[in-house]
Assembly symmetry: C2
Homo-oligomer: 485 residues x 2
């Protein structure tokens, strides 16, 4: 391929290659993914070792890159779209979501200002309002998209810091004799991104106080109250509480209503991390899981987790958009526009200036699934998980280790006669690695009060009963194999 | 479209719709974009007002969404891919970059851990090393991708904070009598994201000290030295200096070598923001612009800016990856893997846990352009800009307001007989709005020492001499029209 600068050489074979790729993508999503091991089997360094040390001097044909993708990259992919992917929070791209991303890549707009792509800002605000209504959240919630819940929660806690009236925007936190140590509270089951936000914002790990959980892995509100009192007595300044709806380990739901009442009494910012489980509240029978969230100061859930939108799309809501602006807005002359003040410029609400056109893929998903379609898939996932939980309950040598309110089941094997907790943990890790080595199912683990637990997480559009049956079969085979060792 | 849960309904018409979309995308990129006004003409609220208040209850056909995209969304798009887009930093998606994004959306992996997609981590590290070599940066630079330079610089300054040995990770910044106010230095021409990072990290706006520029908009190193001395005397703790290679207003290049020597003397972290101009250093004749960057502690440039990679992809390099890990790594049990310690888990180096497969699109671009292809386009853009600068110099009533070392030209009109600086500013804003109203060219502005300047930024693969000719013609027509008023 010669370089012809009078014609866009990068488009010479684009159309042909894109059509070829679309057929591959459709085959892959329609089930071709099952031809690959769900968990990549490559050894560390295998992919990088197969690639040259430098970029090529001359242009290469699209076809060659595509071939190398098949030969070198694909074996190194762990297939999150595989129906047997039941690790972490299982997520899937949906066809409509992929279409939205394709278009977003081709348009390549930066929606930093309203003016730099009015449709990007307006569609984002509209689909976030659609989701707000779907989740039955209050009308005064203003919502926008971030890339990840890590960033959404970071912005929320920065807003909490700003709301405290400590003049942090101007004066910062260091070297001030008028500032006490600051405290953020979350349960010890909260996601690591909350502690990471505290680190980033300058509260330090000591500024993050982990509150114990009750027997169902929900935040212990008495312990929260005691911690706040203790910190106040010790001269610390409580800033915010982060409640979780759907914790990472067990998908437990903190008692948000109680926590919100406490926050109101104490004058604390309430941020709710519903990154995974928020989606469930699109079904009326799951409205309970967001009870109390109507009182939150900020709330995040991730359409890229359990709502079939390709990564990344995290929905952040707040009743105090102006506080986010006070925390973050900086408008140099080169970013002023004639319509400042009449429009929403989304760069004002967060850290990142650059903003992809993420609203498109969310819009494509919401319209083509419809509320009823989303509900049907969520209910199907929950039903599959509940059926699996029942199976666990019925198998003598398996133990359920936590309630399963949504589509994640925590359990462990109890090898016959074994009472040593370390030996049981190690057995379960081996069992998991054995299942994962099958290439057909991929599970992950966590640590609960009883020790290591395995997790089965359902969230993939392609996952069917047969996949759960295979998972059960592999667990039974693994058990048999390890018990005979 | 009925909802059939035994078959993935979201894929029913995916293939057909995706092929149709690919043809539209190819037509659009090949020149169809010229059929649209570059700057959207919609009024605020026009897009959102045309959309329903709630998501649909039932699934809608893909075809209907596609039609609404054409009818409602497209008129609200400001076309960054339009060859007449010369505002901000002009960027373009390239065909190969779009292909990479398509595949990334279909795979939908989260490369948070090596194991969750070995190819995502390894390809990212490989292409970052290809770019490092291309830019002639030191071998010990470890590079990874962030979404935006806003995040890259935030991470870099968090690492600088960690490197200062103040035990910020554990203890935070607030309520400590052993911590002085912290200071970060950058020129008053530095991007607003640097001040925003200082805000986020708890240094406050007072913790960001803007250093004056010289006549060519480069940081005044004497003033920097004086500011550091003054702050030390006042009991503040200098942490880091941010040097810019290619400032947003004028693309000026700070004297990084001198600054790096000062940082070495003073024990300060040096972060270099080369978000826009870093790409130029792929051409040997532009290696000068990164002189001194080999001494940087961290360095960022954005392949999504002037390297034809779709937004978002920001390349962050550091010689101290362990410091980033100390600043950010938190590994809960559910994110441990059997190969911890033997592999790079990229979640450890930043705020965000979720990580898209961004390496794919960078790889596709680097291979299909090749180094020589990238150089040819960069040189062509620079030549177009230099030719425009010469034209400005030759037109009596136009004034160049800053040197143009790369592909951005700053200038202003001087209406005959007008000496009042506010009147000249206002005239230039009117001139710009008149050009922008054409729908054929989109310019932006900034404020320089002389007042308001207009900017012509070249970075689009499709921009040709005829587009610059049109730009000149519109400026001349605007001048004639406004002078007759």
């Amino acid at each position: 391929m010669g370089l012809n600068l009078t014609k866009r050489h990068d488009l010479e074979d684009f159309r042909e290659q894109a059509h070829q790729m679309v057929d591959w993508m459709a085959d892959y999503l329609e089930g071709g993914v099952r031809d690959h091991p769900v968990l990549s089997r490559v050894k560390p360094g295998a992919v990088s070792g197969a690639l040259p040390k430098s970029m090529p001097e001359s242009p290469e044909e699209l076809e060659r890159v595509w071939q190398d993708f098949q030969d070198i990259i694909l074996p190194g992919v762990t297939h999150w779209n595989h129906p047997g992917f039941m690790a972490y929070f299982s997520i899937t791209a949906s066809g409509p979501g992929v279409l939205g991303e394709m278009l977003s890549a081709a348009l390549n707009v930066n929606g930093m200002l309203w003016r730099t792509c009015p449709a990007a800002t307006e569609l984002e605000l509209v689909v976030l309002d659609w989701l707000r209504r779907g989740l039955n959240l209050p009308q005064e919630f203003f919502g926008f998209l971030c890339d990840t819940a890590s960033i959404s929660s970071l912005l929320a806690l920065a807003a909490a810091r700003e709301a405290a009236g400590l003049d942090v925007r101007e004066r910062g936190l260091a070297g001030r004799d008028d500032l006490p140590p600051l405290r953020v509270y979350a349960s010890d089951q909260a996601h690591s991104s909350i502690a990471k936000a505290c680190l980033t914002l300058g509260f330090g790990l000591q500024g993050f106080r982990a509150i114990p959980h009750d027997k169902d892995y929900r935040m212990d509100v008495c312990a929260l109250r005691a911690a706040i009192n203790e910190d106040r007595k010790a001269g610390c300044r409580p800033l915010a509480v982060v409640a979780t709806v759907g914790t990472t380990s067990t998908t437990s739901v903190d008692p948000v209503a109680e926590i919100s009442a406490l926050c109101a009494d104490e004058g604390l910012w309430l941020h709710v991390d519903a990154a995974y489980a928020g989606s469930a509240a699109l079904c009326p029978e799951y409205h309970w899981c967001l009870e109390g969230c109507e009182n939150a100061d900020s709330f995040v859930f991730n359409p890229h987790k359990w709502l079939f939108v390709p990564i990344d799309a995290s929905a952040l809501y707040t009743r105090h958009p102006d506080t986010f602006k006070r925390a973050f807005s900086l408008v140099p002359e080169y970013l002023t526009t004639p319509m400042a003040g009449q429009v929403v410029d989304l760069m004002d609400y967060g850290v990142q200036l650059g903003r992809r056109f993420r609203g498109l893929k969310v819009w494509w998903v919401l319209r083509t699934f419809g509320l009823s379609g989303l509900q049907a898939h969520l209910r199907r996932h929950i039903a599959l998980a509940q059926e699996f939980a029942t199976w666990v309950d019925d198998v003598e040598w398996l133990e359920r280790t936590a309630p399963a309110p949504f589509s994640v089941v925590c359990f462990r094997a109890l090898p016959s006669g074994e009472t040593d907790s370390e030996a049981i943990d190690s057995f379960n890790m081996k069992l998991m690695e054995q299942v994962n080595a099958s290439g057909e199912i991929f599970l992950s683990h966590t640590r609960l009060d009883s020790g290591i637990s395995l997790r089965v997480a359902i969230g993939n559009l392609g996952t069917e009963e047969q996949d759960l049956d295979l998972c059960k079969k592999l667990i039974m085979e693994g058990m048999a194999c390890l018990s005979n060792l």
